[in-house]
Every structure is written in C-alpha cells, then in structure tokens.
C-alpha cells in the first residue's frame, strides 16, 4: 500500500528551564490539598508507620489523629493537664506516647484512648518521647537536662543520661542498634549514648542549639539541625563533619527523610521547607508556606507533606499520582466480581514472559481535524481545531500546517460572523504569547486581508477586531518599554565594565 496518511504533528514547545528538572517537577506535584487549623501552634506531627499512614498532630493540650484519606480527625486524645508534646505512634500503630509540660509521660491505646501507662520522673516539660524499636522501651528528653529510657511494662526509668548542660530538645533511638541513643541539646552538643554501658560514647558540638537530629538507616551517619544550618556527621569515623549547609534564613525547627531516605526535608521559621538530595546536599526544591514552620513530616509512601505552623495551621500537600504509578497500584487489586472492571479485567493482560504475542494492529483512529485534513476540507479542520477545550498548541500546529499547505486563506475565507468569531477570539487570547506570535500575526494578516471590507457590517466581529487592536497596541507599548529598560541596563553594564578596565590599566 502507498504510504499511510500522516497525522498532524503537534508541536512540542520546549519546557522553559525555570520549570526545572524532573526532580522539581516531582516535588511540584505535591499540590496544596487542604489546611486544617488547630487552636494553638502545632508542636509535632508524626506519621503512623503502618498503612493507611494516619498522622498524630500535637497542639496545645491534645493529640489528634488525622486520616490521610479524608483529612478528618479520627481520634482526639485530650487527657493532658498541661501542653502536650510529641505524640508518637508506635511501630504497630496501636499505642501512642506523649509527654507534657508538667513532665508526665503517658502511653495511650489509640483505639480506646485509655491511658495505659503513666511515667513520672521528669520535673520539667518533656519535649521528646519515642518508642524504642523493640516496642517495650521509651526514650524521653526533657527540659530538666536529662534524657531517660523507660521500661513500659514496669513504668520505671532504666537509664538516665545527665551530661547535657541545657534543655534536651532532640533525641532518637537507632533503629538498627537499639542500644544507641542520640540526643541533641540547647547546650549546642549532640551526644551518643550506649545503653549497655549507660554512658556517653561520643559528643559533638553543633555550634548552635540543636533543634532536631536524624539518623540514616544503618546508623553510620547522622544529621543535626540547629540555628539555620544542618550538619552531617560521620559516626563511624568518630564524629567527623561530612557536610554543613546553611540554606535557611532562620532556625531550622524540624527535619524528616522521605521513604527511601534519599531526600531530606527541613522546615524552618523562615516559612520555607527545603528538600535536599542527600548525595550532595544540594537543595532540589523549596516550598514556601504562610507562617513559620515548627514541624514537618512526609508520609512513608511519599504522598503527603504535612507541615505544622506557629499560627496553628496544618498544611497538607498531597502528590498527584502519575498515571503509571496509579496503574501499578491498581494492578494488585482484584476487582469485585460482577463489577464493570471485573468483566474488562483481561484487557491489559500482556502475556507471560515466554509467550509468543501475536500483535494486533488496531485501526488507527484519526482525530476530527485529521479526518478533515485528509479530505482537504481545510475550513472544517480549522473549525474542529477551534472547538472549546482544544489546547492552544494543537490549534497553532494546525494553523502552521495550513500555512505549509498554502491553504490558510482557503480555510479562512467564506465565513460568516459566527464562524469567524472563535478564530478571532483565539487570536485575541494568544497573540501576545511570544511562542505563537509569529504564526498568529500571519493569520491575523490574512483575516484582515479577506474581511477588511465587510468587518463593519457585523457588530460582533467589529468589536472583536477593536479588542484585538487594543491588545496588539498594549503589547507594542510593553515591548517598547522593555527595549528601553534593556538599553539602560546595557548602558549600566557597559559603564561598569569601562570603569573596571580603567582601574586595571
């Protein structure tokens, strides 16, 4: 057969470099979904480590557990006498631990909201409470300059670490080695404790009050945040500084990893969340919020970024799924018997690995404008490409193709005011878009050539043409202004260059 009809090739315009890399596009897909407001500033947000990744928000004297599906409150725990801190959900998602400003640590059953254990010992506010990986111990860090390890069944402190000189505001237990505890304090030091010897094995100075610490999986590297800087430490080589970066204007209050620990998120009082690539600690993306950020959390499946702010607002950004990921996540689900999906379930089956696949060639379906183009009905093709909801670039591609076929005039002549209207409207809408201007100016010229003698007969078209004229005029003025500014800027640049060279000689 002779060569098949070639479809209209739709232009692809280059993506401007400002729109950034694949990386930033990934993070941009986190669209602001909703914001919830609490009564006071949000001090902590922690995700449940198991599906469906609910998150516990601590604010004022209560801890609330929100669902990531609906963003509604699932449970409210408000059995605190003072301000609550650091509501953390255990590995199995059943228990929650929180400290409060009186120094009390309480363990709750999430389902019944009953207090299971109460641990007393701290006499200042407890800002950090964490479950140990074995689920039977709890780490607490308090403003009484101590960090303690509690035994949950016995409700008593096993170890007390007392070497800090100031409030202890950061702490964690290593996931890989439950004997290692890391704490950061306002005395600017980070200390590594060993539960087996009950002593400090390593102490590092951050240079600013430490607000948060994180440990990489494997336990070899840690990150500390204090002031506007984050510092990466190598524990294996004895606490050497690997990298220190300062990208925030104000104190960094919170840090978290993404699910695979390849990206680091930091939230700061300067309203920004920055995302770093942990290979080189370059900022790959940055999100701006409306208020200073106190805590930041990313769900383990990398779909929700939740930020808590001083004004009591919780901002949730949810990532839109890419089509591929969606289909992959759907593949695992078995459709309900009898549903529409059930009967169409074999459609995407692609055969087993060794199978010989007989390729079926579906008849190529042409778009409406392509069908008209094939029949050389240029006017109809243009109408089809001007219908509501068509993308501008498609219309532009068609106009370009008509120009190439020397058929633009043919497509434009012989229209009444109603059928000419969409074309002129399109011109008005897009004529100042620099990437389309050259083609649309040609189209405009042809329209004026063809219809100039009859424009005044239709009030509709006359009005549109006046609009178009006004738009072109403003654009011309704008260009003149821009040219002026460029000229004056060039003069400044040349002038500075001139003084440079005179100094040099």
């Amino acid at each position: 057969m002779s060569s098949p009809y070639k479809k209209l090739s739709i232009k692809k315009l280059p993506v401007p470099t400002e729109k950034g890399t694949e990386e930033s596009r990934f993070w941009k897909r986190f669209k602001s979904r909703c914001s919830l407001s609490e009564i006071a500033s949000v001090t902590s947000i922690k995700f449940s480590p198991i599906q469906p990744f609910d998150f516990a928000v601590t604010s004022s004297t209560r801890v609330q557990i929100y669902s990531t599906q609906t963003y509604k409150v699932k449970k409210t725990i408000s059995r605190f006498n003072d301000i609550a801190y650091c509501g953390t959900i255990r590995n199995d998602g059943k228990l929650l631990v929180a400290g409060d400003a009186t120094g009390l640590i309480q363990v709750f059953d999430i389902n019944s909201r009953a207090i299971l254990r109460t641990m007393q010992g701290h006499n200042h506010p407890v800002h950090i409470t964490r479950f140990a990986p074995g689920n039977t111990q709890i780490l607490s860090c308090s403003d009484d300059k101590t960090a303690r390890i509690w035994d949950v069944p016995g409700q008593e402190a096993i170890s007390i670490f007392q070497e800090h000189q100031d409030y202890v505001r950061a702490g964690l237990i290593s996931n890989d080695n439950p004997h290692l505890v890391l704490t950061g304090s306002y005395d600017q030091s980070i200390k590594l404790w060993d539960l087996r010897t009950n002593s400090c094995t390593m102490s590092m100075s951050h240079g600013a009050p430490v607000e948060d610490v994180l440990m990489f999986p494997g336990g070899g590297m840690i990150i500390s945040a204090g002031g506007p800087t984050i510092t990466v430490w190598d524990l294996i080589s004895g606490g050497r500084v690997v990298r220190s970066v300062s990208n925030h204007q104000k104190t960094i209050t919170s840090m978290c990893f993404n699910g695979s620990s390849t990206r680091l998120l930091t939230g700061s009082l300067d309203h920004h969340v920055k995302i770093y690539d942990v290979q080189n600690y370059d900022v790959v993306h940055s999100i701006e919020y409306s208020s200073p950020i106190l805590c930041i959390a990313l769900s383990p499946d990398d779909t929700n970024i939740v930020a808590g702010m001083t004004c009591g607002t919780i901002s949730i950004r949810r990532r839109k799924f890419v089509q591929k990921e969606l289909s992959m996540s759907h593949q695992n689900k078995q459709p309900r018997v009898g549903s529409y999906k059930y009967f169409t379930r074999g459609q995407t089956y692609s055969g087993n690995k060794g199978d010989f696949v007989v390729e079926s060639k579906p008849r190529e379906r042409l778009a409406l404008y392509d069908r008209y183009l094939k029949k050389f009905q240029y006017s109809n093709a243009l109408d089809a490409a001007l219908r509501n909801g068509t993308q501008a670039i498609l219309t532009i591609s068609l106009l370009q193709e008509l120009i190439r076929r020397d058929a633009l005039r043919q497509a434009i002549v012989g229209r009444d005011d109603l059928s000419l209207e969409p074309l002129v409207k399109f011109l008005i809408r897009w004529i100042n878009e620099p990437r389309y201007t050259s083609i649309l100016v040609d189209v405009g010229n042809v329209i004026i050539d063809v219809y100039s003698s009859v424009i005044y007969k239709s009030p509709l078209i006359e009005k549109l043409i006046v609009n178009l004229h006004a738009k072109v005029k403003t654009e011309m003025n704008l260009q003149k202004e821009i040219a002026k500014i460029i000229g004056s800027l060039e003069m400044v640049a040349k002038g500075s260059l001139l003084t440079d060279t005179t100094n040099y000689t």
Binding site: S2, E22, Q400, R405
Partner: protein, 623 residues
Amino acid sequence: MMLNPNDPQQLLSGSLDGTIKVWKYSDVELLKKYEFGIPIYRMVILASYPDRFFVVTGIPCKNASCRGKQKAQALLYFRFDKKDQPEMHLLCKSKSMCTGLVTSPDGEFLIISFLRTIRIIKIKLNQQKGQKWPKYTHSSNISCIAIHPSKPYISIGDEYGKITHMYCLKESQIQDPVKSSVHWHPHKVNSLAFTSDGTYLLSGGKESVLVIWQIETGHTQFLPRLGSEIRSVTISPDQTLYAINLLDNSIKILSAINLEIKQAVQGLKHAQVDASIYPLSTGLVIEPRNHLVVLNGLPGTIQFYNPHSDRHVMEHEVSQRTMISRAFEKDIVYPNVNHVSFSSNGNWMATVDSREDGETTPELYLKFWKFDPNSQTYVLNARIDNPHSKAVVSLNFHPGTNDTSLSVVTTGLDNKFKVWKINSESHASQVFKDSVSWMCKFVGSYRQYTPRATAFSQDGSILSVAYDSIITLWDSRSNVLRDVLTLLPNYEFIRHLAFTNNSPFLVVTTQNFLYVWNLLTCTIWWSYRIEAHHLAVDSKSTRFIIASNSEKLQECRLFVFEPQTAIPVMVHTVKDIVKAIAYFPRKFDEVSSPSNAFQSYIIYLNQNYDMLMIGENFVEKVH
C-alpha cells in the same frame, strides 16, 4: 527512450545523438547500430515491419525566421534495406512539441499527438501518396495519449487533468468522432495505460495518485500518497503487475490484485528537484556509522546512499510534510534541509531546516536526532525554533567527544555563532528516567562581521570561525578567543575552511585564492591562485582536494594537495561540473591491502546529480 520489439531478447534505444542501437539485454551486447544523423525524440517500430522505424525528430532549423525557441518536430518514416541504407519519408510535421506516439495493437494505426493536434496515420495507406489523413484538434494542451486495445477509440490526457475518449478509428466516424470525457485529475495527466483486455485504464499525474478507471462503469479506484509525481505507468502483458515511474527517481512495481508495492527501485532522489528553489545545501556528508553518503533528498528530507553497492539505503524525513498537490497556480513551498552534521560516532545527528515562502513568517529549526539501534533510524530528540534570527550558515559537531559531552556549533547571518551542549540528567532514584536535552551554552561574535564558515580541529581543541576575510581561532573548551588570522593581501570573502588531518595546517579558500596556514607559527605557509569551488579533506590521510569548475569548458579540474607543499600530488580533469565533493572511506576489506595509492575514494556529484567515484585509475559511475 527505449522500446521492446517483437523479439523478446532485444532492446532498442534511440538517443538524441541520432542513433538507434539494438541491444541484447540478457548478456549486455550491442547487436546493431543505425545511424540517422538527426536527434531522435520518440520512436516506434511495428512487429510486422521489423526494420522500419517511425521516428520523431527535431528538424534542424535553417530558416532564419524560426528562432529555435519553438522547435519544429516531424514524424519521419525510415526503412532500412539490406545494406543499412536509410530510406526516408516525411509523414507529417508540426511546429510544436510532440507529446505522444502510439500504435494500435493490431498495427493498423499510428497516432501522433502534438501540442494541440492529433494525427492518425493508417499504416497500410502510407505507401500511397497523397492520402488525406484525419487531423483533429483538441481544446487544450495534450499531455499523453493511449489507444484502446480492442475498441476503436483513443484516450487523450490533457494538462487540465481531463481524459477524453475519442471514437475516431472507424471509417464511419472519421469525419465526426464521438467524444466522451472523464475528469478527476486536478493537474496534468502524465501517463495513460490500458490493460490489455481493455477493461481498465490507469492514469497518473502530478497529484501522485494512481487512478484506476473501470471503463464500462466509470468506477474509479485510487492509490494515493505514492510519494512523488507519477511520470509514466505501464502494465505487464499478463496484467498482474503495474509499474509506475515517479519523479523522485524511483520505479515502483505494484501487484494488480491488491495494489501493494512489490518492489521499489530507488535512485538518488535529488536529481529531479528544482535546484534553484531547493539547492543541494548539505553537500555530501559521510555518515560515520556505516559510511553512507548523506545528502538532500526530496525537499524536507535527507537520503542515505551507499555508493559501494549503489543503493539507496534510507530516506529520513527531517520535517514532516504531506505530499499534496498545489491548489492554485503557485507551487507550494516545502521546507528545505540546509545542513546536516553527525557526531563522531554517529549516535547523534543535527540538522537545520528552513522554510521561507516570502509571505508568512519564515520557519527555521535546529533539530537533534539520536540514533535508535532498535529501529535503525534517527529519532527526534530536541527541536530548537529559530536558533538564529537569520539563516544558518554552518553547522558542525565537535569531534573527539563522547556522548555525554557533545557540543554543536552553529553560525548564522545574524553575525553570531552559538555553542549548543548536551545536557543529560541522570537520577539515582527509580522515580525519574534519564533525560537528555540540548541547551545553548555560549553565544559569540566578532566585531559584527558575518561568519562564513566554521571548522573544528581534528582533536576538537580549536574552533575556527571565518568572518568575511578574517579567521578567528577559539579555544573550544573555554570559548575564549585565542588568535585572529587576517588575510592581508586582498579582501575576498572566505568560502571554505578546513583543518587538515594529522597536521597543523588550516586550509582556506576564497574566490580566487587558496591559502594554507601553519597554525604553529600562525603564518601563511603557502598560497595558490586558483578558483576553488569545492574543498574536501581526507579523514584518513593528510591530503585535501580542491575542485575548480570551468563553466566555459564544461569540465572540472581536481587538485589533490599535501598541506606541506604547494605542488599538487595529482591533477585530474573530469568532463563534468562538480556540484559537491567528498572523500569516501574504503570498505574495511580494502583497507587491509597495503600500499594503496589513495587512502580514500573521492566521490562527487556532477551537474546532472549523478554520483561518481574516483578510485586509483578509473572513474566509476555509481549512479
């Protein structure tokens, strides 16, 4: 102009040099040669009269009043006797071009058509002198004719696309023939052919659509989008195959049953393109992967050609276009590919194509293509709209770089040269796939002079840009101007610029001079007064070649130089005007043989766009 006579092993060819030669085509042998002494335009012979020729010739114009513009043509009848002495009769003549000459299958009639008239000659009657032959005039210019194999009528195709059937071959209808016409073609009908049983008529024309008419019912069947204008259509005697000859220098053989292309013979495509609108701007580029020659094909395409096997390998569409016939009198302007360049390993190709019709905004695109090993074609990677604000003068890939750090230099009439670099992002995480893009990294200019040519040194360290009559040398890594070489003696514009291979010399040609610069001392090493039209550098040795055309003598002298001395290694004269020239690497098996006088072949295109290859001692005509 060829024709099959009644004995199937022989082939006759008539030519403008006034001879008819009889060939035995099964074993390429010249059997017989007839001398006529007048240029032959068309001829037929009849099966019943094997040594009688009906020949259309141009009459040499002796009359001063006819000024050769409108050539008179005449139909002559020759009979050769045993001693090969021609006996000549003038059958008819006309002042216009002959458009068709056919005989009826039973050998009774001979029909000749001129611009607007048709004459029918009854062959039996032509011994008796003074017979009045019917003469018909047609309302418009005739483009082709055909005789129905069994019924007494002829079909006439004209330049408005109308096909007229004229029933004029019966005695009773001679004076007042019945006419009927069908019209589908919007343009000139180039060829008509009846199937031998007379049920179908095939017609083809400028629209590149083959139309199959069922004569009884008037039903039509179309075979659209054949790729180019149809020049002629023939049908095999057993009616199973149709052969069509297209304007793009190809022959396609179709099966009559399902109209599928069975075989295609493809020559160099550029030959039939109007060179004034679509010039051979790419020159001859050697593709580094398979050593194919790349040059312009049809407008908007480039073709890959293998000179060793004389085969058209691939056609690559740089800008998509739909083959459509013009709607009005004006021809449609297609985009033209201006420049092609390949990266040193052939994985990347860069092209510049443009379209300018004088009315709408000109289009100018720089496109980057990546070789796809699965489909063995180049896939578009990036398109840059309007890389320069005016036409692009040159396009060069940086040699000696790998795929991750490629760069391309373009120069434009906007007095700028731009360095484009590949920009590959690779991501560690699985979420993103690696993406490759191209970006402009540097824009350079030199005192608002217009760049004329660019060249990279062989190792890629120096970029040389020639402005009017000044050569600038740039460090290609840091894009810093290193040196400026000025042609002091005269201010001719530089035409070509090339670094020689393996030696520190730079070859520069202007309109009348050839200069060789030594880059170590930055002085002119030697110069030569020669009108150099083309320059090519051998990539395997240090040599370079200069082609100097002489319009007057219709010949071209080729000078092969070593850069060290001004004495040419070889001078060769060919009887052609050279349009483009290049060194072509040998095949691998040939390279192994020692002491080759030439390291590479020289290939060139002549004025007829034939590609010729020069080896050791012979000129081999490739196409």
